[in-house]
């Protein structure tokens, strides 16, 4: 009797859960599952500008798009640039976030909410607006950056026009724009570390560095795993910064995978090909994330 009752209660509760979930599930189905599946189908077709005018000329071409991606030299430069951005910008962003989180969270720091707000401001401003402003900062002749450097006797640098410097310039912008978000998460993680641990370490004579390495870092591991993973996934999707500031140039040095996909898809309307690029990027991110998880597990 009572088991049947509790069973029914579970059924009721499951039904209720589904009911509550259904609006968001419906939204996910309509705005995510259906588009992703149709993109997958499209990636096996030659959907292009001709198909935009007349759907009957679409042909199924199997893996031809995927084969052509790997033949395309610009895909490899885009992949290289994207990895450059992820592998340099990602760790830098995490390090800056952690550093500022430690500083903002330090006992001696005053006006904590003020600093938190200031550091978080770039996160909530529009990326396109920020990129436009930074383009002025980076301007070789009239930019404030070169003006300040001139006091140190450094000759003007063509930040966005020099193929060797454009990507680092974009990394600096991206780190500045995004570190505040991770900083907040790190602060939350830091506040969850019990003070007793530091007190005990202090009694044992551990200095600040040892406390950081042996208490802060290990206790922050769950936070760090989350932050690193989200950052890396986000950084793989580099798009708006080069789109607004350099259009992928100079000499394709800031061409990213997503920008390439956008150009193929919307500029040339090679939608089938662009969809295939999207799935290649998906696989790259998936592999990278799995590797990261495996690495994390081994370290623990």
């Amino acid at each position: 009797m009572s088991t049947e009752k509790s069973y029914r209660r579970i059924v009721d509760r499951t039904a209720a859960a589904w009911l509550f979930l259904s609006p968001s599930l419906a939204a996910i189905a309509v705005f995510f599952v259906v588009p992703v599946l149709s993109a997958l189908v499209m990636s096996f077709t030659d959907f292009d500008i001709y198909a935009l005018g007349d759907l009957s000329v679409v042909r199924f071409i199997g893996f031809e798009n995927y084969r052509r991606i790997f033949e395309l030299p610009i895909f490899w430069s885009a992949l290289r640039n994207t990895f450059y951005f992820v592998l340099v910008g990602g760790p830098l962003s995490v390090a800056v976030s952690l550093g500022t989180a430690l500083m903002v969270n330090a006992k001696l720091t005053r006006f904590k909410p003020l600093f938190r707000t200031i550091f978080f401001l770039p996160v909530v401003t529009s990326l396109v607006a920020v990129a436009v402003v930074w383009r002025y900062l980076y301007h070789p002749a009239h930019g404030i950056l070169n003006y300040l450097l001139s006091f140190a006797g450094i000759a003007p640098i063509d930040w966005l026009g020099n193929p060797a410097i454009a990507m680092p310039a974009i990394i600096v912008l991206a780190v500045w724009k995004g570190f505040g978000y991770n900083m907040l998460i790190f602060i939350a993680g830091l506040q969850n570390i019990p003070d007793e641990l530091y007190e005990a370490a202090h009694m044992d004579g551990a200095n600040a560095w040892r406390q950081f390495v042996d208490i802060t870092l290990p206790m922050l591991t769950p936070t760090s795993v989350f932050v690193v993973m989200i950052t890396i996934i986000g950084y793989f999707q580099l798009f708006a910064e080069p789109y607004v500031m350099t259009q992928g140039g100079p000499l394709n040095s800031t061409m990213s995978i997503v920008l390439l996909m956008y150009e193929q898809g919307f500029r040339w309307w090679n939608m089938g090909f662009a969809a295939a690029i999207a799935f290649v990027l998906f696989v790259v991110i998936l592999i990278f994330t799995l590797l990261q998880m495996a690495l994390q597990r081994r370290m623990q």
Partner: protein
């Protein structure tokens, strides 16, 4: 149809049409609109400015989303693509009785780019072609009172300038041929004759003997160091032109204004323009019909009003007004008798050049093809590929880009 009662203003019965203009033109054209609205009180025009860098994708997505404007400014080379999409309205029915637009008043080479399969889809708004800008004093010092009329003369001139510079121990690039521009390469190829695309424009014809002549000439220019082979060498063209580091440059009408303002004062009246040299003896050599046209989108619900706007903007008077605010050259021959053009000595070369234009192949893939061409110009400039290898690869890239078109032509789906 609603009839206005006595107190209702005209404003409420006006038809609103949308007009997309690109870049600076989209901004400056706004000055001309009040006059149009005054003479056409029943039409209200909303101008939207679209940056050039985003124009193509914006138009395609607008077409896909059925939200195209009524009237639009379209690059000449984009017309084949939008015609293929059946996005554009044939214009002849609207303009047949027009007194303001007489088609034989337009430069023939430019008008032709607006006619696809013998149907008129666009009215030229302004024309753009490329001519030779040169330092008169430097050419004179090298013993040339006239700019070169053939490419053979050009090469001799470059050689003697280079020699003189060497004797004086200074650096000099007689002819600046940027590696990131496709126009000079294509203009040269057209001059050399033959079709750039073969078999009903379904295959590249760049490794054929004619285009090879053009590419070999360019390779010679780079290998003899007549032109810098990297973009980094010329950081500021106007400074380099003033310093005499560069003596000649093939470029468009917008640079008349730029040169007048940005060239150093002491050489300000020492430069001139001339039509392009020729591959053979028929000077001037052909250049390309560039510029933009005004089109009506097929989805427009106010085509009659849209045509009136085009008729207005394409009139002799308004194309001159537009020239005065933008520096863009009028496409109508009759406009060139106006003193503002006739008295500008730098503009005469453009008038001559506009009589000698060769139309580009009308295929939707053209833009993609020429962007690819820049890569191979760079390769021969930096000597990382031979002319043969570059052209062979360019042809195979072009063939691949035209694969769909080839299939459509072979199966009879398009002509």
């Amino acid at each position: 149809m609603l009839f206005a009662s006595g107190c209702q203003s005209v404003r409420e019965q006006r038809t609103t049409i949308s007009f997309w203009g690109m870049g600076t033109e989209g901004e400056r054209v706004k000055v001309l609109i009040p006059e149009f609205e005054r003479t056409h009180p029943n039409i209200h025009v909303v101008v939207q400015q679209i940056p050039w860098t985003a124009a193509h994708e914006k138009l395609l997505t607008a077409y896909a989303g059925e939200s195209t404007p009524d009237v639009c400014q379209l690059g000449n080379t984009w017309l084949p693509e939008f015609t293929m999409l059946k996005a554009l309205e044939p214009l002849e029915p609207f303009l047949r009785q027009s007194s303001l637009v007489t088609l034989n008043d337009f430069f023939d080479g430019v008008l032709k780019t607006n006619i696809i399969d013998s149907t008129l889809y666009g009215i030229p708004w302004y024309v753009d072609t490329r001519v030779l800008f040169y330092r008169r004093d430097l050419l004179q010092a090298a013993g040339w009172s006239q700019p070169p009329k053939t490419w053979a003369e050009m090469m001799r001139l470059c050689a003697s300038m280079k020699e003189q510079a060497k004797a004086r121990g200074i650096k000099c690039y007689p002819l600046f041929l940027p590696t990131n521009e496709w126009v000079p390469a294509i203009a040269l190829g057209m001059q050399a004759g033959g079709e750039l695309l073969r078999q009903n424009k379904t295959l590249g014809n760049f490794s054929g003997p004619n285009f090879r002549k053009a590419f070999t000439l360019m390779a010679d220019i780079y290998r003899n160091d007549y032109s810098p082979s990297g973009m980094q060498l010329i950081i500021n063209l106007y400074n380099s032109f003033s310093d005499g580091l560069v003596a000649m440059y093939i470029t468009g009408p917008w640079n008349i204004g730029e040169f007048s303002q940005r060239i150093a004062p002491d050489v300000r009246d020492k430069w001139m323009t001339a039509p392009l040299p020729s591959m053979d003896s028929t000077w001037p050599g052909a250049s390309l019909p560039l510029g933009t046209s005004l089109v009506i989108f097929r989805q427009s619900r106010h085509k009659k009003e849209a045509a009136q706007l085009i008729e207005f903007l394409a009139s002799r008077e308004q194309s001159l007004a537009f020239y005065k605010i933008t520096g863009n050259l009028p496409p109508r021959k009759s406009a060139w008798t106006d003193t503002s053009l006739a008295n500008n000595r730098y503009i005469q070369a453009f008038y001559q050049q506009l009589q000698r234009l060769t139309p580009l192949p009308q295929v939707p893939e053209w833009e993609q093809i020429v962007i690819k061409l820049q890569l191979y110009v760079e390769h021969i400039a930096t000597n990382t590929m031979t002319v043969d290898e570059a052209l062979r690869r360019f042809d195979s890239d072009t063939d691949r880009m035209l694969e769909k078109r080839r299939w459509l032509v072979e199966t009879g789906k398009i002509r």
